[in-house]
């Protein structure tokens, strides 16, 4: 329970003594823990990454790997104490364009939220307010950050709806969310999140609730808008197809930590972590000849309360016995550089991994 008592201090504690980074967004050793009756849930446990403007980072992982918690952490949506009396314990540093967000005044962060950084949520039906028209909601988002009258704000809303491809935007601006189809709601959400020209856009499973044909439209839209506005985009998804479409860099999460990070090409063609191999092997692919069998990862994702000691992936890893001295079960592997801008956290030597990938895994994919 000692950690619990620290919780108040951990929130917004000025941990950063290090200088502001040069990157547009930099997350350093981010930890988000939730105290519960069953124990401390370590949803994110030491995550670091950088992102430049105009680039897209894809965060991939299974449910419960900490992807969404990371995004809410960046947006500063954990500290409000919405988990009853117990607050989420957040530590680390989040630098956005020279400002450290975790130690910043909540009012400061509120000014940034929606303007400099904004978010597209997974389920547009529950993220939009059913009582207000689409237009009213976009206008509210715009007027919070801009001192304009309602008419001008509404013109802006219509303009944004038109930009995201909603037909007859001047009429649809007065529609309620339930009058929109799933794809149109997601477009409206995108319009709302882009109304203030944010420099950082976080898309949390933006297409999971949509059909493939609509998904293709939305992915195209996100890509085009990014080109147009030059924002930095973080795409969070479990679908490797979606990250391959959008992301420049990919970060693979497992059990609250990053297990592999690198340029999209590297992660797809020279993955250096057994979990990434597992993800690639368990996915049936349309662009390849029919596989006889998929190669699943055995077992199921770990509990975030009792994360396996050593490498969190060790109970599911077919190669856990290769490193000597039971290293995988006792020592947690750190991210090591395996190529230019490419890191992976595994105890196996680079040569071993390279050999296993090229000889055993790649031919079967």
């Amino acid at each position: 329970m000692t950690e619990l008592s620290k919780s108040g201090a951990a929130v917004g504690e000025p941990t950063g003594t290090s200088p502001a980074p040069s990157s547009f967004l930099e997350v350093r050793d981010l930890k988000v823990h939730f105290p519960t009756d069953d124990g401390l849930v370590k949803s994110v446990d030491g995550l670091s990454f950088k992102l430049e403007k105009g680039k897209t980072l894809g965060i991939v992982g299974e449910s419960g790997s900490g992807k969404s918690v990371t995004s809410l952490g960046i947006m500063g949506l954990h500290t409000a104490g919405q988990y009853g009396k117990r607050k989420a314990q957040i530590s680390g540093e989040i630098w956005l364009d020279g400002t450290e967000l975790l130690s910043a005044d909540p009012d400061e962060v509120r000014k940034l939220r929606g303007r400099q950084m904004s978010m597209i949520f997974q389920d547009p039906l529950s993220a939009l307010h059913p009582y207000y028209t689409i237009g009213q909601q976009i206008v509210e988002a715009y007027r919070t950050h801009h001192d304009v009258d309602k008419k001008a704000a509404k013109r802006r809303a219509v303009e944004m709806l038109e930009r995201v491809g909603i037909p007859q935007p001047d009429k649809r601006v007065d529609s309620y969310p339930h009058e929109f189809s799933g794809g149109m709601r997601q477009r409206a959400m995108i319009a709302m999140s882009l109304v203030n020209n944010p420099e950082l856009l976080i898309a949390d499973e933006p297409t999971t609730a949509l059909d493939v044909t609509v998904q293709a439209q939305i992915l195209d839209l996100i890509r085009d808008l990014q080109k147009e506005f030059g924002s930095a985009v973080v795409v969070i998804t479990h679908d490797l197809g979606v990250v391959a479409e959008l992301a420049d860099d990919i970060l693979v999460m497992y059990g609250g930590r990053c297990v592999e990070r690198g340029p999209a090409e590297k992660v797809f063609y020279e993955p250096r972590h057994p979990y990434t191999w597992g993800l690639l092997g368990s996915m049936p692919r349309l662009d390849r000849e029919q596989q006889d069998r998929l190669i699943p990862v055995k077992g199921s994702p770990p509990s975030l309360i009792n994360v396996p000691s050593g490498c969190a992936f060790n109970p599911r890893c077919p190669y856990a016995d290769i490193p000597k001295d039971d290293l995988t079960r006792t020592v947690r592997p750190e991210l090591t550089e395996v190529g230019s801008q490419h890191w992976a956290a595994c105890h196996m030597s680079q040569e071993q991994r390279e050999r296993i990938w090229t000889e055993e895994i790649a031919p079967k994919l």
């Binding site: 299974e62 044909t213 293709a216 391959a244 029919q290 699943p296 199921s300």
Partner: protein
């Protein structure tokens, strides 16, 4: 059903080969036959709850499932694929049409009449969280089918349930645990064990893996595969994920707004889809390969959303989003016909094949807008292939009159590649009336 319930009671738990031989239809025999199946959900309004319309969820579909094969059903949400699954398992009462199981008409059997058939037809549900009763142990859940059917398996219910648990890869000692103690993937295995309890012939699986994580998805897909080989099961697998469907199915039905638009074996469907919708659907699947990201030319973007099934478009239901739609598509509904052996398509202007309505060459205005979203390469390629196939068909039949047809076909193909050029004058005259007919 020639067997009496008593006979069945003996044969079901006995998993020996001899007992199963008498029970199974020979592989390749038609197990399930569906003709003209419809399901309309009435919309009622006002004080008197008068019917003001109907959601035409399933609107006349025909197909057969042969013993031992897997039929995959794909389509976007709202196309009626789940309703179709519930109709063939008779969880819903069809509005019209016929469902035959092993030659017996089961369309309007009551609850009592269906009971013996429930042994042979089982269902796996999408959501492993809501399809298991949280207040029952998994022993009770998997044992329930035996109780309902008054079947006592050899060695007792408990022993049989434990055997089923080990078949689906769960620990038999977990007999007394509750559903909440299991993960999503494990719960889906419990659902599968329950469906297999009575050794069914046909298993209808509605989105069996879509609620699961990728790595778990693969485990369940492999399990379904193994069980089919071991137990000779017949599957109807309903899913929206085209890559999963390709992996598990022998034949695939593509549905759009309550109709089957294409029904073909796996290879033909994925190599050479004939219906424009199938082609668009497949091209929309994101390919997990960053090197192909910029190969945008392969993608066909469809305009807008699926129309409402309350008032589906006239003629071909896809004509409002199709880039090949012509006048005939708005008025005449294309029948599902077998164009190639093993490939049934309902389209006037199929891809990769000879045009079915070559006289109709003028694109609708809506189709022109839709075509703007389709890369030129795709249009050119599709025109080429259909011209090539047409030519092939012509030479094969080698008839004098065929030649003229080939000419029209290729002329039509040219017209498609640049719709504006030759037909502009014609379009101008017909365009005026086209939109009004659409409405």
């Amino acid at each position: 059903m020639s067997e009496t319930p008593k006979d069945a009671a003996v044969t079901i738990p006995a998993q020996s080969a001899g007992a199963r031989l008498t029970k199974d239809a020979a592989p390749g025999e038609t197990l399930l036959k569906v003709t003209g199946l419809q399901k309309h959900f009435p919309i009622r309004k006002g004080l008197l709850q008068r019917q003001v319309g109907a959601v035409r969820a399933v609107d006349g579909i025909d197909f057969e499932v042969k013993s031992g094969e897997t039929l995959g059903v794909v389509g976007e949400s709202g196309c009626g694929k789940s309703t179709m699954g519930r109709l063939i398992t008779r969880l819903l009462e069809p509005t019209a049409g016929q469902v035959e199981f092993e030659g017996k008409d089961i369309t309007h059997l009551g609850v009592g009449g269906m009971r013996p058939l429930r042994r042979d037809v089982q269902m796996i549900f999408q959501d492993p969280y809501s399809s298991l009763n949280p207040r029952h142990t998994i022993g009770t859940i998997i044992g329930a089918p035996f109780k309902l059917q008054n079947v006592t398996p050899e060695g007792g219910v408990k022993k049989e349930v434990q055997r089923l648990l080990s078949v689906v890869g769960l620990n038999p000692e977990h007999y007394n645990r509750y559903p909440h103690e299991f993960s999503g993937g494990q719960r889906q295995r419990i659902g599968i064990a329950r469906a297999l309890a009575l050794n069914p012939k046909l298993v209808v699986a509605d989105e069996p893996v879509s609620a699961l994580d990728v790595s778990i998805q693969a485990q369940v897909v492999n399990l379904l595969d193994d069980l089919q080989q071991e137990l000779g099961l017949t599957y109807v697998i309903i899913a929206h994920d085209l890559s999963v469907v390709r992996h598990v199915s022998d034949r695939i039905a593509v549905m759009y707004l309550g109709k089957i638009v294409e029904l073909a074996d796996r290879e033909s469907l994925y190599k050479a889809p004939m219906h424009p919708y199938t082609k668009a659907l497949m091209s929309a699947v994101p390919i997990p390969d960053p090197r192909r990201r910029n190969a945008k030319s392969e993608r066909i973007l469809l305009k807008g959303d699926v129309p409402s099934p309350i008032s589906p478009p006239s003629g071909c239901r896809f004509h409002t989003r199709c880039w090949k739609a012509t006048q005939i598509c708005t008025t005449v509904e294309p029948p599902l016909v077998e164009l190639k052996p093993g490939q049934q398509v309902a389209c006037h202007h199929p891809e990769n094949f000879e045009d079915q309505a070559p006289q109709d060459t003028v694109l609708l205005t809506a189709a022109k807008e839709a075509a703007a979203l389709v890369a030129d390469e795709v249009l050119a390629e599709s025109a080429e292939t259909s011209a090539a196939v047409a030519a092939e068909v012509e030479t094969a039949s080698a008839e004098a009159e065929a030649e003229t047809d080939a000419e029209t076909a290729s002329a039509e193909a040219e017209a498609e590649t640049d719709a504006e050029a030759a037909t502009d004058a014609e379009t101008a005259s017909t365009e005026g009336e086209t939109p009004s007919k659409e409405k």
